[in-house]
């Protein structure tokens, strides 16, 4: 995957192909990063929701339960210390407020780690992409000069 390529050895078409590949990868990683951030925000919301609901003052709090997007049924919280947590692939586990919060915080931390990893990759890739671009430009300039000299020589 990460074999070293000497950019100065490539012709313009190859450089363009390499640049395209890098840009594609860059795009992919930026999208992944975006997805991670969205997921992280969702989990953060869950944590703050748990904190609010499990407050002492919210015991027996009344609320409206959405039966559909346009129909709500009044209800009240029977037990504000128990939460149903989605742990993935359709499985849900009952957790108390503290455990549920640690569960989500662990997830957030994991996502944070992955975000920094992806950010580093993006930094690397965009640097490489810039390097390739400057190489393309240099080559173009050199070709241009060579063509000019040829024209001069032909005119003599």
């Amino acid at each position: 995957m990460s074999q070293k390529i000497d950019l100065t050895q490539l012709n313009p078409e190859q450089l363009n192909a390499v640049k395209q590949q890098f840009d594609q990868e860059l795009n992919h990683f930026t999208q992944s990063l975006q997805a991670l951030i969205v997921a992280k925000n969702k989990f953060s919301e869950c944590v703050s929701d748990i904190k609010t609901v499990s407050e002492e003052a919210n015991k027996n709090q009344t609320l409206l339960i959405p039966a559909s997007a346009s129909l709500y049924i009044p209800g009240h919280i029977k037990d504000n210390t128990k939460f149903m947590v989605d742990i993935g692939t359709g499985y849900y586990v009952e957790k108390d407020a503290k455990d549920a919060i640690t569960f989500y915080e662990k997830k957030i931390e994991k996502l944070n780690n992955e975000s920094t990893q992806i950010q580093n990759i993006i930094k690397d890739k965009s640097q490489s992409s810039l390097a390739i671009e400057s190489q393309i430009r240099q080559l173009a300039v050199r070709q241009h000069e060579a063509a000019k000299q040829e024209a001069v020589a032909a005119a003599k």
Partner: protein
Amino acid sequence: MSDLAAQYQKVQGDLEDLIMNRQKLETQLQENKIVTEEFETLKDETPIYKLTGNVLLPVEQDEARTNVDKRLEFINGEIDRCEKNIKDRQGELDRLRNELMKQTK
């Protein structure tokens, strides 16, 4: 010549599909792994529910565990199969490329 090129392109397309498939399997594997890890940290009396359609049905911890383990096993098997296919296609692609090169010379 064009026959060979068409064949090359077809194998290349197959390979891309396989790689996408492989990625999907990897996502499933990771998700299931996270679930097993979560099962490990549960207390014995913690109830587990499974989302079936739109309803949460209670399941025994043992049942849930064996279910996810079985799923992991299945996914790992699928990954092996997929990897083997990828290798085969790659070999075929290399062979076709060599032949193409020979013909263009």
